[in-house]
Amino acid sequence: MNLDLFLQYVVAGVTYGTIYGIVAMGFNIIYNTTGIINFAQGEFVMLGGMTAVTLARVLPLPAAILVAVLVTTVVGALIEILFIRWLRHPSVLRMIVITIGLSILIREVALHIWGEGVRALPYFTGTSVTSIRLGGVYISPQVLWVVGISAVVVAILGGFFRYTLLGMQMRACAANRDAARLCGISAKNMVTLSFMLSAGIGALGGCIVSPITYVQYDSGVPLAIKGFTVAILGGLGNSAASAGAGMLLGILESFSVSVLPAAYKDVISVAILLAILFVRPSGLFGSAEVARLKEF
C-alpha cells in the first residue's frame, strides 16, 4: 500500500470517526451529570439534520442550522423536564429502558412529520463532486468542515467545563451530587442543562454531516450504537477522550476495508466494543480506579 492510498484511508476514517466522536460527546455529557446513558442520543443527531433540511427551504443555510440546533436543544430540555425530572432515585436499568423508549417515540414522530424518505443538506462549499486534492489524496471540502467544526466544539466545550461557573457547577454535580446540592447548586437544572447541551451538540453534528451522508427518520439508531462504542472506548465520562477514540474507531474501520471484505466493517466495531468491555471496561483513556467509584 503506497502513501497516497494509506492517507486516503486515513481521511475516510477521520470522516466517520468525527461523527462517532460527536455522538459520543453527547453521551458523555449526560452521563457525567446524571449517570444516565441516554440511548436517544442518536435521535438528537437525526432531529438536528431533518429540522435543518426543512428550514433550509425558507432560511439561508447558516440560519437554518442555527435554528435547527436551537429547536433540538429545546426538544432535549422538554424531554428532560417531561420524562426524567420527576423520577425519584431511578435505577440505571430503569433509565436505560426509558431512554430507549424515548428514542422509539422520537423516531415515530419523525416518521410522521417527515415521511420515510432520505434528506440531505446542500454542501456548505461546492457540490457533491468537488474535492480538494492534497498530493495524491482527495478530500471533499465538507470533510474539512466536519473536522474543523468538531474541533471548535471540543475546544469550546473543554473551555466551558473548565473556566465558566456553569461548567464547573455541572462538573460538581457529576462528582458528587449531594455535595453539590449542599453548595447551593440546583442539581435539577444542571440535569436539564446537560440534556440541552447534548441535544445541541448532537444536532450540530447531524447538520454538518448530512451533506456527506443523508438523514432519514431512523438514521439515529446505528449512530447511537457506534457513538456508545466510542464513548466506552474512550472511557465513559471522558469527553475529550471520546474525540480521540472516535478517530481511532473510524480509522480502524476504514483500514479493515482494505484487508477484509467491506461487509465486515460493523463486525470490527462490535468486536472492539466487546473486547474493551471484557478486558478494560474503564476504556482506553479512563482510569480503572475512577471507574470503580462510579455507579455504572
Partner: protein, 383 residues
C-alpha cells in the same frame, strides 16, 4: 339462566356476522406486502400509493367484472421476517386471491414457497431472477429480469471497450442476486471484476470501499443496490477523483436517488423501463400511451412526487391480475392463475409481457432502455 342467554346471544351474533359477509357480488380480496418505510421505502412508498390509486379508480368504475376490490396493504419495512408473517396472515386469515409485492427480492424469496403451498397468486414487484427460476406454479414477477439488466450493461461496456470493473453491491437480496448474475455473466462478456465489495444497506460513508476499488485499477464501477446507500457510493467515488463511468442497476429508477447523489449523479448509466422517459419516447412506441397515462394519474394524485419504475411494477402487478380475472371470467384462483400464465402481448409499464408456463416473468432484454442522468433528470442514453 345467564349462561343460556349468553349462548343464545352468541349464536345470534355469530349468525349476523356470517350473514353480513354474504353480499350481492363478493368483493375480491387482494393483499399487498410492501416496504412502505425502511431502507426500501423508495420502492414500497410509490408502490403502495399506486395500488391505492388503482383500487380507488377501479372501484369507482364498478370494480372488476362487477366485483369490488378489497385491498389489504401490509407494511413489511423491507424485512423478510415480517413479510413471512404477513404472507401467512393474508393467506390463512384473510384468504386473499392474490398477493401483490413484496417490494424486495429478499422478502419475495422468503415467501415464495409459502405462497406456492398456499395456492395464492403471488405477483412480486421484485427483480431477482431466482424468483421465477425455478418456476413455481403460483409465483410471478413484474420487474424485468436482473440477468437481462446485467447483459444490457455488459453490452454497453463492450461498446465502450471496458474490460476491468469494480463491483459494489448492497447486502440485500437484490444486491446478492445481482452480484451472482454479474459474476456468472462476466467471463463470457470479457469482463474482469478487479474488486468485489459488499456494503451494508445502512452505510453512511463508503469512501474506504471506493478507494479500494480505485486502487485495484477499475475502469468503471458497477453499483448494484436498491437502497439510498447507492447514492453515497456515487458521491464518494467522484469525491476521491474516480473519473471512469459509473453504472447502476435498474434499482436506480427513482429520481430521489439522483437527488440524494446531487451533482455526482451526472452521467450515470443504467438500464430501466421506459416509464422514466415516457414524455420523450417516440409516438410510435407501443408502451407510450400506457406510460403517459399512469405518469399523469400518479403525479396528479401524489403532488410533488415524480413517478418511478417501482410504482410501475405495482401498476403492472395489479393490471395483470385484473386482466387475468377479466380474461378467465371468474374469481376462482385456479382459473385466474391459468389466465395470467397464458397472457400474451400485455402492455405494461415495465415492457410488453408474454407469459408462458415456463416464463413467469414475461419480459426480455428489450424491455430495458439504457438511461442516463442529464442535468438532474433522467434521459435516454445515446451511444
Amino acid at each position: 339462566m345467564r349462561g343460556k342467554i349468553g349462548v343464545i346471544i352468541g349464536i345470534v351474533a355469530f349468525a349476523l356476522f356470517l350473514g353480513a359477509g354474504v353480499q350481492a357480488a363478493e368483493p375480491i380480496r387482494v393483499g399487498a406486502i410492501l416496504a412502505v418505510t425502511g431502507g426500501a421505502s423508495f420502492l414500497g412508498g410509490p408502490e403502495s400509493r399506486t395500488l391505492e390509486m388503482l383500487v380507488e379508480d377501479t372501484n369507482a368504475k364498478g370494480g372488476i367484472d362487477g366485483h369490488k376490490v378489497e385491498l389489504f396493504i401490509m407494511n413489511s419495512e423491507g424485512s423478510p421476517e415480517k413479510a413471512v408473517s404477513f404472507a401467512k396472515q393474508l393467506i390463512e386469515e384473510k384468504k386473499v386471491l392474490a398477493i401483490l409485492g413484496p417490494s424486495t427480492s429478499g422478502e419475495t424469496m422468503a415467501i415464495k414457497k409459502i405462497a406456492d403451498d398456499g395456492q395464492t397468486i403471488l405477483l412480486s414487484c421484485a427483480a431477482a431472477e431466482v424468483i421465477v427460476n425455478p418456476v413455481a406454479k403460483w409465483v410471478f414477477k413484474t420487474p424485468q429480469k436482473d440477468s437481462d439488466a446485467v447483459q444490457a450493461i455488459f453490452n454497453q461496456m463492450g461498446r465502450m471497450k471496458i474490460t476491468k470493473i469494480g463491483l459494489l453491491s448492497g447486502n440485500t437480496g437484490f444486491g446478492k442476486a445481482g452480484k451472482g448474475q454479474i459474476e456468472k455473466l462476466a467471463p463470457e462478456n470479457g469482463i474482469t471484476i478487479v474488486a468485489n465489495e459488499v456494503y451494508d444497506k445502512a452505510s453512511t460513508d463508503l469512501t474506504a470501499e471506493v478507494t479500494k476499488v480505485k486502487a485495484a485499477g477499475a475502469e468503471a464501477i458497477l453499483n448494484w443496490s436498491i437502497v439510498p446507500a447507492q447514492s453515497i457510493v456515487i458521491k464518494n467515488a467522484r469525491q476521491i477523483g474516480f473519473k471512469g463511468p459509473i453504472f447502476q442497476s435498474h434499482g436506480f429508477g427513482n429520481i430521489k436517488y439522483v437527488e440524494a447523489a446531487g451533482a455526482a449523479a451526472e452521467g450515470v448509466i443504467f438500464p430501466a423501463g421506459r416509464l422514466l422517459v415516457a414524455d420523450i419516447l417516440p409516438v410510435t412506441n407501443p408502451q407510450r400511451a400506457v406510460l403517459i397515462n399512469y405518469k399523469r394519474n400518479y403525479e396528479t394524485r401524489c403532488v410533488g412526487e415524480e413517478c418511478s419504475t417501482f410504482g410501475g411494477h405495482a401498476y403492472d402487478a395489479f393490471m395483470i391480475l385484473k386482466a387475468g380475472i377479466e380474461k378467465s371470467g371468474s374469481t376462482h384462483r385456479e382459473k385466474v392463475r391459468d389466465a395470467i400464465e397464458n397472457l400474451k402481448g400485455f402492455v405494461g409499464t415495465g415492457g410488453i409481457f408474454n407469459f408462458s408456463p415456463t416464463d413467469h416473468n414475461g419480459l426480455g432484454i428489450d424491455a430495458f432502455e439504457l438511461l442516463t442522468v442529464k442535468n438532474g433528470k433522467f434521459d435516454i442514453y445515446n451511444k
